[in-house]
Amino acid sequence: MTQDLSPLFLSLKVASVSTFFVFIISIALARFMSRRNFFGKSFLDALILLPLVLPPTVIGFGLIVLFGLNGPLGSWLEQWFGVRIVFTWVGAAIASFVVSLPLMYQSVTAAFNKIDSRWENVARTMGVSEWRIFRTITFPLAWPGILAGLILSFARGIGEFGATLMVAGYIPGQTETIPLAIYFAYEAGQMEKAAFWVIIISALGLAIISWVNYWRKKTEIRIGRE
């Protein structure tokens, strides 16, 4: 059986792009939220968590209303950037982003909350800018939590199904990620094809975990104790 491998590459692309933005934005958010107190903070917190409790189809519906051709964001993006979200891989990336964000955000917030401000203060006495302190002290010390969040986000991004199907549609060869391939093969009773993709995606998970573990061990000394 020769298989078209495009779903693998598409899934990797979608998950990578989504994880990249999840990473940037959840760190910015967590940092912002951990330093400020404002009215509605809990509400924003809950809002970020919402995609975790809603059925993916409903999230997809929300996204398609927002990012659709007639939607407020969709029409704006189309007009100004010529970017179309619906029925493209960008839509799949946005769906992955939304469902992965809460995973990363919670992990990062927990990691930041645990860091002793003493080290940040030492760095301040040395005249180092807040931004450099963040990059060189806060971030590396929070790294184990951030890494856990990254693993979760990437895996969730790879695995996103319901919302992706809604936003990106199922266009074989164009928006067919691995979970979509599995689902439609399975639903059509093509158990061999479904099993093939389940094996591929499991091998991918195994590869990622092994690589992360290897790499974590290699750099372990850097997060040693004081």
């Binding site: 003493r118 080290w119 203060n121 030492v122 760095a123 301040r124 006495t125 040395m126 005249g127 180092v128 800018s129 807040e130 060189t136 002290i137 590396p140 010390l141 000394i221 850097r222 997060i223 040693g224 104790r225 004081e226």
Partner: protein, 216 residues
């Protein structure tokens, strides 16, 4: 010239401080829990007084009613009592942390050698001994060429020889930089050897003492 004149309420007493310091070395003595570390923290900007003012060479660090000057802009070298080395950075990275990449390191290399920590540069803080940590922290506090040095018990974990060397080095640096230095100590010998003046803090109340009187 350092002006310090503030009060700060602690749990069991109020810390009241009022002194001025030229480019001298001041020894801060007093029993455990009397407020010495808190005083240094106020000067460094890590905690803030309730009232009063702190200024260095005309720059206002703290002025009642105004926003305190950011820690970053105080240019203070501070050796913390518990060292607070960055656990994820090597000794070398710890020491050079405040230095811009290609800056002049000559004075740091010299200090490193005199303090006997050259061998430790590639190690991480959890791999070195207590006294070694203290010397690394001292070097780190000196590395940024600060306008004011605050040293919280800088020699407590050192043996006689090593302490001797560190003190000589500190005197040499003071000679060159000519900045105010405040250090906390529990040893009379340290105060006698290094200090131009001695201030005693007891339950938050300070008194200036003659060096020879100081029973620490």
């Amino acid at each position: 010239m350092l002006h310090v004149d503030f009060r700060k309420q602690l749990e069991h007493f109020e810390l009241v401080v009022d002194f001025q310091l030229d480019n001298e070395i001041l020894a801060l003595v007093g029993s455990s829990g009397s407020g010495k570390t808190t005083l240094l923290n106020c000067i460094a900007g890590i905690v803030h007084p309730d009232a009063g003012s702190i200024s260095l060479n005309g720059r206002n660090f703290f002025q009642e009613g105004n926003k305190p000057l950011k820690i970053q802009r105080r240019k203070v070298g501070y050796l913390f009592q518990d060292y607070a080395l960055f656990p994820h950075l090597s000794v070398e990275q710890n020491i050079l942390y405040s230095r811009p990449p290609k800056s002049d390191m000559a004075h740091i290399t010299a200090v490193t050698k005199v303090l006997g920590i050259t061998d430790l540069l590639p190690k991480y803080p959890h791999q070195i001994s207590g006294g070694e940590k203290q010397r690394v922290a001292l070097t780190r506090a000196l590395a940024a060429k600060p306008d004011l040095l605050l040293l919280d018990e800088p020699f407590s974990a050192l043996d006689d020889d090593t302490r001797e060397r560190c003190q000589e080095e500190l005197l040499r640096i003071h000679e060159i930089w000519n900045i105010p230095i405040i250090f906390v100590t529990h040893r009379q010998a340290d105060a006698q050897k290094l200090a131009d003046r001695v201030i005693r803090v007891e339950k938050g109340q300070m008194t200036e003492q003659l060096i020879s009187e100081a029973s620490l």
